[in-house]
């Protein structure tokens, strides 16, 4: 019995060894490429290159994400649908709900797919924090077209943000720049010495109001009152009473609808605030439904500069043709640039085999993204700093005057453009 069993085992080992020997050389050949510390994505010949999208596509911030999803679709079409000649580009869209828990779920879902090369997102900074952590852990590069919180990158003075993670970049401006721009406009152009700020407890509005406040103070102005409301509030008269009592020259409230509607409508009843030229909002309010309100005539808005140039006009035309409406938010061009930066970095860092198999080393991809310098995008000339801020962050301040009827016209009525000084 015993010998028989040994014979069998010996045969088996022999057979396996043969098979192994037959297989081994081929594997060696394939393994010429050695992945870096973060691993690599291997794309079989003709297989798609997958890009993940983490965007808010439902709920009350849906337009923010929808806008960027559409821009990415157009960018892929512009690229001809293929990357590295024969690899179709596929996207997978996950909803971040504009919340941290949405960012986690979306991040996990994308991280679970080893074929995801890079991620465009998120829509909201709050969702970005956990998503970055998950994706960074997997070495997946993530670039956002609309995150603006300084915490995600740096304070632009060389101090790393507390949420910063390797592999995160963005084409949107840093809040600090918009705060600086708005403060500069208010202080220098409007000659305001006292400013009041109102936020609504949203991380974005709170961050921006604070950034405005500190810049305004640095310029020599006084913050007469830094106050806040809650989402869902309707009766703004009590808070406006306080604001009026602080005698501001300008009121900066970078909040959203519908609360901002209540503020502008009710401000009319206050002699000190009745002049709409004292009201100053931000990009969240640059929408058709807001500027039609009579009381917004004369109001100022700060926001990322609307791109100019023929290529941008082409994008808008394609957008309108494809989706039946004009771009619904301000960040589609940023997302378009973001995804194109990914394409460029993939093209730069990918290793191609003769049979068409492509290896994309994650570390090299991140390095390639960070190395982006003087990239000619729709939103300007993009150069990434070491913390991932890539934006050519021009901030416009526009005014809604009776001659402007549509949001595009308002966006076009630029009174002031802020081009930030070079940061270190």
């Amino acid at each position: 019995m015993g010998t028989r069993r040994y014979q069998f085992v010996a045969c088996l080992v022999g057979a396996l060894a043969l098979v192994g020997a037959a297989c081994a050389p081929e594997e060696q050949k394939a393994a010429e490429f050695t992945p870096g510390p973060l691993g690599a994505v291997t794309v079989e010949p003709g297989a798609p290159i997958k890009i993940g999208l983490i965007q808010a596509i439902s709920g009350d911030t849906a337009s923010l994400g929808q806008d960027q999803v559409r821009a990415v679709e157009i960018a892929i079409e512009d690229k001809g649908g293929n990357l590295l000649e024969q690899h179709p580009i596929r996207t997978q869209v996950e909803d971040d709900l504009c919340k941290a828990e949405g960012g986690t779920t979306a991040g996990q879902k994308l991280a679970a797919d080893p074929q995801i090369v890079a991620v465009v997102g998120s829509s909201c900074s709050g969702a970005a924090v956990p998503a970055m952590e998950i994706l960074s852990g997997k070495g997946i590069v993530m670039i956002s077209g609309s995150n603006t919180s300084p915490r995600l990158t740096s304070d632009l003075r060389g101090k790393q943000g507390d949420a910063y993670k390797l592999g995160y970049l963005r084409t949107a401006h840093n809040d600090i720049i918009q705060g600086l721009a708005a403060a500069n406009f208010a202080f220098q152009k409007l000659g305001a010495k006292r400013a009041a700020t109102i936020h609504d407890g949203d991380p974005y509005t709170e961050g921006l109001a604070n950034a405005f406040g500190s810049s305004f103070k640095e310029l020599g102005g006084t913050i007469s009152l830094a106050t806040a409301i809650s989402k869902g509030d309707t009766d703004m008269r009590p808070v406006l009473t306080e604001v009026a009592a602080s005698k501001p020259d300008v009121v900066f409230f970078p909040i959203f609808q519908p609360e901002a509607d209540f503020i502008v409508k009710q401000a009319k009843g206050f002699p000190l605030l009745a002049d709409t030229k004292k009201l100053f909002g931000a990009d969240g309010l640059l929408s058709d439904t807001f500027i039609v309100i009579g009381q917004t005539e004369g109001m100022y808005f700060s926001g990322p500069a609307t791109p100019t140039g023929a290529t941008y006009q082409e994008l808008v035309a394609k957008y309108e043709k494809k989706f039946g409406e004009k771009p619904i938010q301000a960040f589609h061009a940023h997302a378009y640039d973001a995804v194109n930066m990914i394409f460029a970095a993939i093209e730069k860092s990918a290793v191609k085999e003769s049979n068409g198999t492509v290896h994309i080393d994650r570390q090299k991809l991140i390095d390639a993204m960070h190395a982006t310098k003087d990239y000619q995008g729709l939103t300007g000339t993009l150069t990434c700093d070491k913390f991932g801020d890539c934006a050519d962050a021009k901030i416009d301040v526009v005014q809604n005057t009776p001659t402007e009827k549509t949001i595009d016209q308002v966006r076009g009525n630029v009174l002031f453009t802020f081009d930030p000084p070079e940061t270190g």
């Binding site: 439902s58 909803d95 919340k99 941290a100 828990e101 960012g103 986690t104 779920t105 996990q108 879902k109 991280a111 679970a112 709050g126 924090v129 956990p130 952590e133 852990g137 919180s149 915490r151 507390d162 949420a163 936020h199 407890g201 949203d202 991380p203 509005t205 709170e206 961050g207 830094a226 806040a228 809650s230």
Partner: protein
């Protein structure tokens, strides 16, 4: 799905004659069909292929006549003492009539949308429904032909619904089961495919051919797949209801004690083994979904004690969740105002402490308030907590709108819990502990005190229950469980933002325990999986999540107020009438005989 909420109305109409009843049902069905068309559901779901080339939107539209026909074909209620009329052509006719009425209503709507632009008011009455593009409501045909097809399908499906009623009970149940399985497997395609893939990767059981057989490349159930599933479900159900078989539970109870115990251990071991393998098989994303559900489950188990056992309606339960999350964030994040950056486990005792203290703080002022006052006051506490965490005032401590980030991970010795799969095990232990505690407390002095208080506070006090202690302890236990939920939530997400703690969370948890079955642990588990887990999988429904939630809540309360899986004793007799046993007891019937006859079926 929305249909259910509206349909609930029907049963409370005093039963009219069959004809008018069918028409009435048909009109309600038509209204439902119009509603789901005009509110955009049909269009929103038309992108997802469900069965072969049938999209989810169309399936939704076509399920209406089937359901209405089924309801209309239901035999009329029979008074006691009368013999029921045998089901026959009348039932089918009722179904046909109802289907026709629904179809006509929907057809009128189609004509309306085709001829007028009502989009100025009804935002989702898009031209795609009938005029341009896919023409969903007319199945891509011209108006006339489309209407004809629509009416034909509605009448036919209405009739099919009626035919179901004519089938003998066993066959009807088998058909319904088959329908259910097909619908379920089609809807759950991403999850099912993932599980099959996971089985292949982890257990080395080759499932890929099965996946390819069942599903098309587009993710829809393939035609042979539909046929196989339907046939299998039909046959299995038919076999299961073969003879007059006793429910499994009764048969288990009849086993001798020893074998029952062995069986119980075996089942427990099998379940544990399955659960151990589960996260590996289902992969990180489904594990993540389970983790989300698990955190809600922890909260639901806690709220189950407060509402289900002690009968204290707490609408601000999210406050304790937030306290748990913030305590963890403060103690484990090096970025927080405390900044000690402890490991998770060190923070746990403080989570318990903080939650218990907040439970006391909420519980004490409401001690003397009646149920309804309690609801609004606790709701207020929930909002107070959120607003304080978000406020600029307390920003130096809690980070205000910017929250607290870099919350520490859980570590078990040298192992850091980072992946959703690993987190599942930790969460599972917590849930298991919470479930055990729930059972243990239920069957104890304090549990009985809670239930007595729920049933009648004044009498409970007269029977010696210390109401103050009982109420406060319920609040504390509930708060601690929610605090655990919050702690795990914070470490899972890695950051804490005040926006995560709004009143919707409180209401979701409440809905979970009520729909699942109050005071019943299995009910709460099922409720969480269905109401929290499922929506994560069926992201198509995201936009309509609360609409469906609302309809489901109304429907459940009207039809099954005790929940999916009610707690044991409620299940038995909630719908049953009282029995006056005394007559025959007094008459001297042998007690034991009566008991046996009552409990056991003849062998």
């Amino acid at each position: 799905m929305t249909a259910t909420g509206e349909l609930a109305a029907i049963d409370f109409v005093p039963a009219p004659k069959a004809g008018p009843r069918a028409i009435r049902l048909g009109l309600v069905g038509g209204a439902v069909a119009v509603f789901v068309s005009v509110n955009g559901m049909v269009e929103a779901f038309s992108g997802r292929l469900l069965l072969g080339s049938l999209a989810l939107g169309e399936a939704l539209l076509l399920s209406v006549p089937l359901l209405i026909g089924y309801l209309a074909g239901r035999p009329e209620p029979v008074l006691e003492g009368f013999t029921a009329r045998r089901p026959g052509w009348r039932n089918v006719l009722a179904g046909l009539v109802a289907g026709l009425a629904s179809g006509v209503t929907l057809a009128l709507f189609v004509v309306l949308v085709a001829s007028f632009d009502i989009r100025g008011v009804f935002l989702n009455a898009t031209p795609e429904l009938v005029r341009d593009g896919p023409r969903i409501l007319t199945f891509g045909l011209e108006l006339g032909a489309g209407l004809g097809l629509l009416l034909g399908l509605y009448v036919a499906l209405g009739g099919a619904g009626g035919v179901l009623q004519v089938l003998p009970g066993r066959f009807r149940r088998a058909v319904l089961t088959a329908l259910g399985w097909v619908a379920g497997l089609a809807l759950m395609q991403p999850a099912v495919a993932q599980v099959l893939r996971g089985i292949q990767q982890e257990l080395r059981i080759w499932t890929a051919p099965l996946t390819d057989f069942l599903y098309d490349a587009s993710g829809a159930l393939s035609v042979p797949g539909i046929a196989t599933i339907a046939a299998a479900a039909f046959c299995l159900q038919l076999l299961a209801s073969r003879q007059h078989r006793k429910p499994v539970r009764t048969r288990l109870e009849q086993l001798p004690d020893r074998s029952r115990r062995i069986l119980r251990v075996a089942i427990l071991a099998a379940v544990l083994l399955l659960l151990g393998l589960l996260p590996q098989v289902i992969g990180p994303f489904l594990s993540e979904v389970l983790n989300i559900a698990g955190i809600f489950l922890l909260m639901a188990l806690g709220l189950n004690i407060v509402v289900g056992f002690a009968g204290l309606l707490d609408l601000g339960y999210v406050a304790f969740f937030a306290v748990g999350a913030y305590t963890t964030a403060l103690l484990t994040s090096p970025q927080s105002s405390v900044g000690v950056g402890w490991v998770f486990w060190l923070a746990v005792p403080f989570v318990i402490l903080a939650a218990a203290v907040s439970g006391l703080m909420v519980g004490t002022p409401v001690l003397r308030m009646r149920g309804d006052y309690l609801a609004i006051v606790t709701l207020g506490f929930g909002e107070i907590a959120r607003l304080l965490f978000i406020s600029d005032w307390l920003k130096p401590w809690f980070g205000g709108a910017q929250g607290i980030i870099q919350v520490g991970d859980i570590s078990l010795g040298p192992v850091q819990i980072r992946t959703p799969e690993a987190f599942f095990y930790v969460l599972f232990v917590f849930v298991l502990l919470a479930a055990y505690a729930t059972y243990a407390l239920q069957d104890s002095r304090i549990g009985r005190a809670w239930m007595a208080m729920r049933e009648d506070e004044a009498v409970a006090e007269a029977m010696g229950v210390n109401i103050v202690t009982a109420k406060l302890s319920a609040f504390i236990v509930g708060a601690v469980l929610a605090g655990f939920g919050g702690a795990l939530f914070a470490t899972k997400i890695g950051s804490v933002f005040p926006h995560s703690f709004n009143v919707i969370v409180s209401i979701t948890v409440l809905v979970v325990i009520i729909v699942g079955g109050m005071a019943s642990v299995p009910g709460v588990v099922l409720g969480t999986l269905v109401l929290v887990g499922l929506p994560e999988l069926l992201r198509e429904f995201e936009e309509y999540r609360f609409l469906i939630y609302g309809a489901l809540l109304i429907f459940m309360m009207l039809k099954r107020p005790e929940g999916f899986i009610p707690s044991g004793r409620r299940a038995e007799e909630l719908h049953e009438q009282e029995v006056a046993q005394d007559e025959w007891l007094v008459a001297g019937a042998p007690e034991t005989g009566a008991t046996d006859a009552d409990r056991d079926e003849p062998n």
